[in-house]
């Protein structure tokens, strides 16, 4: 049995969770970046995932396996704050900030971290299995 697929699956999982972490960090970093107008403000990004390699050909894992991820911009309404002295303030003294949901981002951060760890554990298990398989017929 081919162990490369097992490593590939865990690697795509780790890449996805790392991307999720990056995107969450990006959202948090831009949380207070005001935009010159409401439509120029930073839009929070979100990672969307899709399972690969199973479903179409039922009964076996085929082709690329694991998980595929995309980054999409969220359609979150900007947060408006009344700051008349701000250089980006409009006629009514309102400034547009990105509609980043801080609580959701923190939850995403922790979920991504734990999921990454789970993928690392799966990859370590695959490594152990492959290493033990190499010992078949050795002096046990």
């Amino acid at each position: 049995m081919d162990y490369r697929a097992a490593f590939q699956i865990s690697a795509t999982g780790m890449a996805t969770e790392k991307l999720r972490l990056d995107v969450t960090t990006l959202n948090l970093a831009n949380m207070h970046a005001a935009g010159a107008s409401a439509d120029q403000v930073y839009r929070p990004q979100r990672v969307v995932t899709q399972a690969l390699g199973f479903g179409a050909q039922f009964g076996r894992l085929a082709g690329a396996v694991g998980v595929r991820s995309f980054v999409v911009a969220q359609d979150a309404a900007p947060r408006l704050a009344h700051e008349p002295g701000h250089p980006y303030a409009d006629a009514r003294g309102m400034v547009a900030y990105p509609g980043v949901d801080q609580v959701a981002e923190m939850v995403n951060l922790n979920t991504a971290l734990r999921a990454y760890e789970a993928n690392v554990a799966a990859m370590n298990a695959a490594r152990t299995m492959a290493a033990r398989t190499l010992d078949i017929g050795g002096q046990a």
Partner: protein
């Protein structure tokens, strides 16, 4: 009973294939733990061993030909969109790894017996 029993090695290889496939299924479930609408996959293998088990219980030695139908296969588990329980997957992962190591131990013992027979009992 013959020492050179091809069915033992054949059965152990098939069971090892099942653990390798099951590892892939569990890794796939873990990689997709946050994928919306994902349906878990698993491996059906033990359930296919019924006929073989009856054969062994009645005292017969399974032949290589009887192993042909016993292949591990992937199957869908649960419902689409059902949450993947990370703790259950991790438990299944370690159980599967331990099972693989137990199977490898048995295979090594079997090969050691063959080696003893070949060397006429000498070390």
């Amino acid at each position: 009973m013959s020492f050179i029993d091809p069915a033992t090695v054949g059965m152990l290889s098939t069971a090892l294939d099942a653990t390798a496939l099951r590892h892939k299924a569990i890794a796939q479930n873990i990689a997709n733990v946050n994928t919306p609408g994902y349906q878990r996959i698993g491996v059906s293998f033990e359930a296919r061993l019924g006929a073989l088990r009856d054969m062994v219980r009645s005292g017969a030695t399974p032949s290589l030909a009887s192993l042909r139908d016993v292949r591990p296969a992937l199957e869908l588990l649960g419902a689409p969109g059902e949450t993947v329980a990370l703790d259950m997957e991790m438990a299944a992962l370690s159980e599967n790894t331990l099972q693989q190591q137990a199977l490898l131990k048995v295979l090594n013992k079997h090969l050691a017996i063959l080696s003893t027979a070949i060397n006429e009992g000498k070390r």
